[in-house]
């Protein structure tokens, strides 16, 4: 069936003569006859009898919105975010809403849980790089605490600034106007010399898989049940004997140090492949356990702020020394266990490492996932569904 003719839609210029109920009483002038683009009801197809599709209505609406309300989003305002939420908040709550925190930080009006967070300003970025690589070098850990930036971010900033310097020295083209525009659009954390404000929270405790379970664990009311005990319950380890518990309570910092400095010595529970470390309390699993030690010291010696600063610095130095030692030891061990063979006529160096052939290391069939030659004699599975065939890592 052909589409019905809607009276309003038909805008033939002869229509006033044909229909008795002519809406446009004005006489048809010569100029109106050929002009198809300026039809009286705004339609661009005055001779068509088909109703305009819905999409055209939306299109018209869109361009109207872009010209009026949306024009505010067209170009950015330096120093302020320019998100859609702002428009919505203004419509709902007026100017107060437009300047609310939500309007300035939420890019998506329907998702209150995602907010645009500050990025490092250029000065702060350069400051981080200067502190880590400058004349009096500081450790990543120390700089992270000083400026309130995550340790991984500090390391990344150093890498990126080094790369930037290299590119500048090679006279490679940089995207400077683009970078400036982005820093004008996105909230940034400025560098405050005197009152330092944290860029992000640096002591994030990752939620451990074992703690997702709700466990009903009855204990006597008289028992002093600490975080460490809760960790043992979560990992199904037997309760600590009284002597160890008393020693831990007497010097909690030492217990945390044992766990963080010698992670291989942490008590293990379970059998075979289910063997895991006992879940450690939060103060041992956060990125900066030394801050907890500092706070403990401060609580114990509240009258001596200088002493606590000294304590903090010596502890930090000690920790760095220990970490450096451990790294050196690991490298030496690796060096000792590999047998390097460099044939005279070859440009390669072959490195052999001894393998301990036991069920723990290579599995019951000798083809454990970490065993050398695990794929020997096994057909390739790369035609199977779900096998990853693209690279999974890029080694620097």
């Amino acid at each position: 069936m052909p589409p019905r003719i809607h009276n309003q839609r038909v805008t033939n210029t002869l229509l006033p003569y044909l229909s008795s109920t002519s809406t446009t009483a004005s006489s048809p002038s010569i100029s109106r006859l050929p002009s198809t683009s300026t039809a009286p009801n705004g339609s661009s197809r005055p001779f068509s009898t088909t109703p305009a599709p819905q999409s055209r209505k939306w299109r018209t609406d869109m361009f109207q919105w872009l010209a009026k309300e949306g024009s505010e989003l067209k170009s950015h305002v330096p120093g302020r975010t320019n998100y859609l939420t702002r428009l919505k908040e203004r419509r709902a709550r007026g100017e107060e809403g437009a300047n609310s925190k939500a309007a300035l930080t939420h890019p998506f009006p329907l998702n209150p849980y995602f907010s645009a967070e500050n990025i490092l300003s250029e000065e702060l970025r350069n400051e981080i790089h200067a502190r880590v690589t400058g004349r009096n070098k500081k450790s990543v850990r120390a700089v992270s605490v000083e400026l309130g930036v995550d340790m991984r971010r500090v390391a990344a900033v150093v890498r990126l600034v080094e790369l930037e310097k290299r590119m500048k020295s090679q006279n490679k083209q940089l995207a400077l106007p683009y970078a400036r525009a982005v820093h004008e659009m996105v909230p940034t954390t400025p560098l405050h010399k005197e009152n330092r404000r944290a860029h992000e929270s640096i002591n994030d405790l990752p939620v451990h898989k074992l703690t997702n379970a709700q466990i009903f664990h009855p204990i006597p009311e008289s028992r002093h049940f600490t975080r460490a005990d809760a960790g043992r319950v979560f990992s199904a380890a037997p309760a600590q004997d009284l002597a160890t518990a008393a020693a831990t309570a007497a010097d909690p910092t030492a217990a945390v140090d044992r766990a963080t400095q010698q992670p291989g010595r942490i008590e293990r529970v379970g059998k075979g492949e289910f063997e895991t470390q006992v879940l450690q309390p939060a103060e041992a699993r956060i990125p900066h356990p030394h801050l907890v030690a500092l706070e403990r010291y401060r609580l114990a010696h509240s009258e001596e702020p200088r002493e606590s600063n000294k304590y903090y610095r010596t502890r930090l130095l000690e920790q760095e020394r220990l970490e450096g030692e451990q790294r050196a030891q690991a490298a030496a061990r690796e060096e000792q266990s590999t047998n390097k063979v460099a044939p005279a006529a070859s440009r390669f160096e072959f490195r052999f490492r001894d393998v301990e052939f036991s069920e723990e290391t290579v599995g019951h069939d000798g083809r454990g996932s970490i065993a050398p030659g695990r794929r020997y004699g096994v057909p390739s599975e790369d035609r199977k569904k779900g096998q990853v065939k693209i690279p999974t890592s890029v080694v620097v």
């Binding site: 849980y113 995550d150 790369l163 995207a175 525009a181 990752p206 049940f225 809760a230």
Partner: protein, 468 residues
């Protein structure tokens, strides 16, 4: 792969794109209806809406294999609380803590703050993909474009070319996109006349007259030298120029540059820009320190405003007295700044003279402020205009051989989508970023950028939990 990432207006879907169609669809989006719908219908709707945005370039079976019901989350810890309390208080009494005297209303407020939006993390595994990360770092205007950049070999991971958009970034991976491509992706497109100029340029090149190129190069370098040398010469010739007049002229030029839209002929814009460049050079060459021209923009700008005695206009309530007070310490400061510059050497000595002349002129102006009260006071807007004109002059030149409109400007509606999630650390000037860690949820916030609310997130999570 066929591009199904269309942003239609009928049957709208939200995409990972900065298109204006997408923006309009975003304004129209409502939370999907749940009343009078079966649970299955709710979940299906939620997953289909969410998948149009999250990884529409990924096959459904591929995504189902990536989906993980285990969601990463973190709790920010306060070292003071950890030190003060070993956690025994929480288990005391009958297991819910002793001395817990919080009222119900307070408790609910606290719980709302501590609420971790796990269901908003459903699509977190997709954020590991290289194409998505390139889009999230603001290096491309859509994930499709980011994907194209990867496939066309413009993206490196840890310094090696990576041609797989599905490469899953590992924490610590550094990826970098060709800056030229990024400028193209995020810049405003060329207009008609710029395209024509570009065509003319290409035609000229293809005619293969190397001699003309060499000539052009010579001309350019000559022009650059010319603009430096005569500027200095001029500065020496006419050292007693009124700073206000200079400033006025400069402002007019800057405004001209910033206000002329894309409709003005590019040749004329180029001329204007060159004129402004010359003027700024002329002013800066009076400065005592010779490093200003090569130094960073901020110091250049500070020097310029200081030389011209320009300052931000305060609110009009301040009367003349206040104005005097505000001016006099400034002139002292400028004197103080001049003094350490003076013993620098003979090179600085000859150029210090115009600077002193300027201060002298300024002092006179401060003593009898009736003559021209407000000429050197700039409003914030004017300051901004002057600054931006200088930026443009230095590192945003007109170049018709580029595939984007020059001088570079951000494309329309970019700011509505501009944010950088926390799991990336981005250096925009070299177009490189580091994938720090996997996105996590924390109390009150999720790190996965998603335009959808709880209803959609939860529904989609429930849909994929079934592992069909």
């Amino acid at each position: 792969m066929r591009n199904r990432a269309t942003t239609t207006l009928t049957n709208p879907k939200i995409r990972q794109s900065w298109s204006k169609y997408n923006l309009f669809n975003l304004t129209r989006m409502r939370t999907p209806q749940t009343s009078f719908r079966t649970h299955f219908q709710q979940k299906f709707k939620a997953k289909s809406i969410a998948r149009a945005y999250h990884g529409e370039q990924v096959r459904e079976s591929q995504w189902q294999r990536m989906f993980s019901s285990r969601i990463r989350s973190v709790i920010p810890m306060d070292p003071y609380n950890l030190a003060k309390d070993d956690g025994a208080g929480a288990a005391a009494g009958r297991g819910s803590g002793l001395g817990n005297k919080i009222s119900r209303a307070e408790l609910s407020v606290q719980q709302a703050k501590q609420y971790i939006p796990f269901s908003q993390m459903t699509f977190a595994p997709l954020e590991r993909r290289l194409d998505v990360a390139v889009f999230r770092a603001l290096f491309a205007s859509s994930t499709r474009q980011a994907r194209q950049f990867v496939i066309h070999g413009a993206v490196t991971v840890n310094g090696q070319k990576m041609r797989y958009p599905g490469y899953l970034l590992n924490p610590g991976d550094l990826f970098q996109v060709d800056p030229e491509r990024v400028m193209f992706a995020t810049g405003a497109p060329k207009n008609k006349s710029e395209r024509r100029e570009g065509r003319a340029l290409r035609k000229k090149k293809s005619e293969g007259e190397e001699a003309t190129e060499a000539e052009a190069k010579e001309e350019d370098s000559a022009a650059a030298e010319e603009s430096k040398e005569p500027a200095e010469a001029e500065a020496k010739d006419q050292p007693k120029e009124d700073p206000r007049k200079v400033l006025k002229g400069l402002m007019a030029q800057a405004k001209g540059i910033m206000s002329t839209g894309q409709d003005v002929l590019p040749a004329k814009r180029k001329q204007e820009l060159r004129g402004f460049q010359k003027a700024v050079r002329r002013v800066l060459s009076r400065s005592a320190s010779s490093t200003v021209l090569t130094d960073n923009l901020e110091s250049q700008f500070a020097e310029l405003t200081q030389l011209l005695k320009a300052k931000r206009a305060e609110k009009k309530k301040g009367d003349r007295k206040e104005g005097k007070e505000a001016r006099s310490p400034k002139s002292e400061a400028s004197d103080a700044q001049k003094q350490p510059g003076a013993p620098q050497g003979a090179a600085a000595a000859d150029e210090a003279q115009p600077g002193e002349a300027l201060t002298e002129a300024f002092r006179q102006a401060a003593e009898n402020p009736e003559q021209e009260p407000d000429t050197s006071e700039l409003s914030d807007e004017e300051f901004d205009v002057l600054k931006r004109a200088m930026v443009q002059m230095r590192d945003n030149p007109i170049d018709h051989s580029k595939p984007y409109g020059t001088p570079w400007q951000p494309r329309d509606f970019m700011s509505a989508f501009a944010f950088v999630p926390r799991y990336l650390e981005v250096n925009h000037s070299i177009c490189a970023a580091v994938y720090l860690r996997h996105p996590v949820a924390r109390p009150g916030a999720s790190e996965v950028p998603s335009p959808f609310g709880e209803v959609v997130g939860t529904g989609a999570f429930a849909w994929y939990l079934r592992r069909r």
